[in-house]
């Protein structure tokens, strides 16, 4: 067991590509930390540098207090689970799991015992003598985990370990990964693309973009207090709504509504030295059907009226989609987020708005509805730097 420290770690590939730049992360002993970010942002590269599979161009990596930059993977005492599982096809499950122990010249009796223990934990006992080719996806995944846990390493590294499983199995394995990590108490660095895994699994989440760490924090904290436009847009599904807005005399003017700022927000904006033109962000759940609210609640926000484009009933609540007239908010961050989810090429006109409203709402498809949103939950961003102007973190 050990803490892992990345100190100004940078990776430049031989072809000149800067994959990871000045990354500082301190991972505590026994912590479960998640790396998320869009494709190509350097998650795998970071993980491979911790593993020793890629060289660190500059900066320092310490495991348990010792600099390990120059150590070969086998001398770092770290185990890794790959997206493709990387099971040795010519070995049985037992041989696969025993492989790291055999390389470490562990005696037969111990190998036997450890493999059986791991198989027990992962419910693989009856498959020990089968080959990987004859196993189901979930079983292979567990063998890969088994191979990682048998030698009780200082830390686990997992690179999108569940992404090859179908949705249902993924949910099941997600909980067992979490349980396993709690049970073993081993430090874990986990790369994922999946919002839900990011929000539910980790103690802390590291959001990366273009090789640079954007923000590190507990999942709920990142959700509530994103430090910039990118984190705000990346964390949360469906994602935050963004609109261009103008600040004038304590009022926020946008195509949604004209909204007097709350005192809390006004103070934050003053200390942040906000520009006139901003991007306003509202999460879907901070909307509500105005018809369901009393006057007191209404007064804490503003309303707009629009025609319901699409209405999705989720049972517990409804998603109502609107298209507002006006220009979409533009910034480098938003363009990148759109590219990552693949919506960059979808032609749209006007501003797309997603709202989550109560299931009791009488809103109908194609008809107009009056929708309220919470003035105090609005977040404002600087369009040029992406900085969160309403950031209330420490």
């Amino acid at each position: 067991m050990a803490e892992i420290v990345l100190d100004k770690v940078t990776k430049r590939y031989p072809d000149g590509a800067l994959a990871v730049s000045d990354v500082d992360i301190e991972i505590a002993d026994g912590e479960f930390i998640i790396l998320v970010g869009p494709s190509g942002c350097g998650k795998s590269t970071t993980l491979n540098m911790i593993a020793g599979l890629e060289d660190i161009t500059s900066g320092e990596l310490r495991i348990g207090g010792n600099r390990v930059n120059e150590r070969a993977p086998k001398d770092r005492d770290i185990a890794m689970v790959f997206q493709s599982y990387a099971l040795y096809p010519h070995m049985t499950v037992r041989e696969n799991m025993a492989f790291p122990l055999r390389l470490a010249k562990v005696d037969n009796a111990t190998v036997e015992r450890k493999v059986n223990d791991a198989a027990e934990i992962l419910d693989l006992t009856q498959h020990l003598d089968r080959r990987p080719a004859n196993l189901s996806g979930g079983q292979r995944q567990r063998v890969a985990m088994g191979r990682a846990i048998v030698r009780s390493p200082k830390a686990f590294l997992m690179d999108e370990p569940l992404s090859n499983l179908d949705a249902k199995l993924r949910v099941q394995m997600r909980t067992s990964v979490s349980r396993l990590q709690k049970q073993l108490g081993t430090t874990m660095v986990y790369v994922t693309h999946d919002q839900v895994e990011a929000m539910t699994l980790g103690d802390r989440v590291v959001v990366m973009r273009g090789g640079v760490v954007q923000q590190i924090g507990a999942p709920q904290y990142l959700y509530d207090h994103p430090s910039n436009l990118f984190v705000a847009g990346f964390i949360g599904s469906p994602s935050m709504n963004f609109l261009p807005a103008t600040l004038e005399d304590g009022t926020l003017r946008s195509s949604l509504a004209e909204l007097p700022l709350t005192d809390r927000i006004r103070k934050l904006l003053e200390s942040a030295d906000a520009p006139r033109e901003v991007i306003m962000g509202v999460r879907p759940e901070h909307f509500e059907d105005a018809a369901l609210l009393d006057d007191a609640s209404r007064a804490r926000g503003a309303t707009f009226t629009g025609q319901v484009d699409v209405l999705e009933s989720m049972g517990s609540d409804k998603y109502a989609y609107f298209t507002l007239s006006g220009e979409q908010a533009t910034s480098a961050e938003l363009a990148e987020l759109a590219a990552d989810v693949g919506s960059a090429d979808v032609p749209t006109s006007g501003i797309q708005l997603v709202t989550r409203i109560s299931a009791a709402s009488p809103a109908r498809l194609g008809q107009s509805a009056e929708i309220w949103f919470d003035a105090d939950k609005v977040q404002l961003f600087d369009p040029s730097s992406g900085r969160n102007l309403t950031f209330a973190g420490e």
């Binding site: 593993a51 086998k74 890794m80 790959f82 040795y88 030698r151």
Partner: protein, 281 residues
């Protein structure tokens, strides 16, 4: 409706069957012809008939009684096997490096092997003839084995690196994470997975060496190292005055049999080996 579909596929099948037949005839007729010649008696040898009128094994008996053929056969087998083993071992090492490792000089190696693959062998015959004579390799086994290895290496590097590339790259990373040194990762994980590819390559290289004629007639002068293809061109028949057609045919059949056996047994592998390198180059 069903009946119509049935006759339609039947029609298509029979059309394919006819095409298949054309291919079979195309491929087999010259082989059957030389076999037929080898079984003909001296009397019927020149009757021009595709199928022998009188069958005999005399031609085979005769060639196996001449030391000329028996030595040549021994030379062919020995030289081809030794060249194959060496070329495949060296090729495996180099192909692994090319497919998997990052090091300076990789491009140079690929370039050199591409050059050698395109190299006109005859350009090598003149200098090798002179060099081998001066260092005493002329008319020896090593004198043939060396050029064979050289021309087999590009083939074996290409084929094998294509096979190596198909082994998932992550397996090796996994082995390193499991505590293996690069050498151990190669021995314990990659080598067992590469075995089928190595075997296939060995067959292709063997065929290449077995087939050579130019080096064999240029770099040998006696039956000490002359291989069968070269010996065939010097065949004069069991006795000086006899027409050698029967003996040549019998000898030709003898060296064709191992190839046909390989092809029959390992058709899939040979096809995979020949096409693997071709897709990407």
């Amino acid at each position: 409706m069903a009946g119509l579909g049935g006759t339609e596929t039947l029609g298509r099948k029979s059309r394919w069957a006819i095409l298949d037949l054309v291919v079979v005839v195309y491929a087999l007729v010259p082989v059957l012809w030389i076999m037929s010649l080898s079984f003909k008696t001296t009397k019927t040898l020149t009757d021009g008939n595709f199928i022998p009128r009188e069958w005999t094994l005399d031609n085979y008996k005769a060639i196996f009684q001449t030391s000329e053929f028996v030595r040549a056969l021994g030379n062919s087998i020995g030289i081809a096997i030794i060249s194959t083993v060496i070329a495949v071992v060296l090729g495996t090492m180099a192909a692994y490096a090319v497919a998997r490792l990052d090091f300076p000089g990789k491009k140079a190696l690929v370039g050199v092997s591409l050059l050698v693959a395109m190299f006109p062998q005859v350009s090598l015959v003149s200098p090798l003839f002179e060099i081998e004579r001066s260092v005493g390799l002329f008319n020896t086994w090593p004198g043939l084995i060396l050029p064979y290895i050289t021309f087999a290496l590009p083939l074996s590097i290409y084929t094998l690196s294509a096979f190596f590339r198909e082994i998932p790259w992550e397996l090796e990373k996994a082995a390193k994470m499991d505590g293996a040194t690069p050498a151990q990762a190669f021995r314990k994980v990659i080598a067992p997975l590469a075995a089928p590819g190595v075997f296939t390559t060995a067959i292709l290289v063997f065929i290449l060496c077995w087939n050579d004629f130019l080096f064999a007639i240029s770099l040998t002068s006696t039956s000490a190292s002359r291989t069968v293809p070269a010996a065939l061109s010097f065949f004069t028949g069991a006795s000086q005055f006899e027409d050698p057609t029967g003996s040549i045919s019998a000898a030709a059949v003898v060296i064709t049999v191992p190839i046909i056996v390989f092809v029959l047994l390992f058709q899939r592998r040979i096809v995979a080996g020949l096409t693997s390198g071709a897709v990407k180059g």
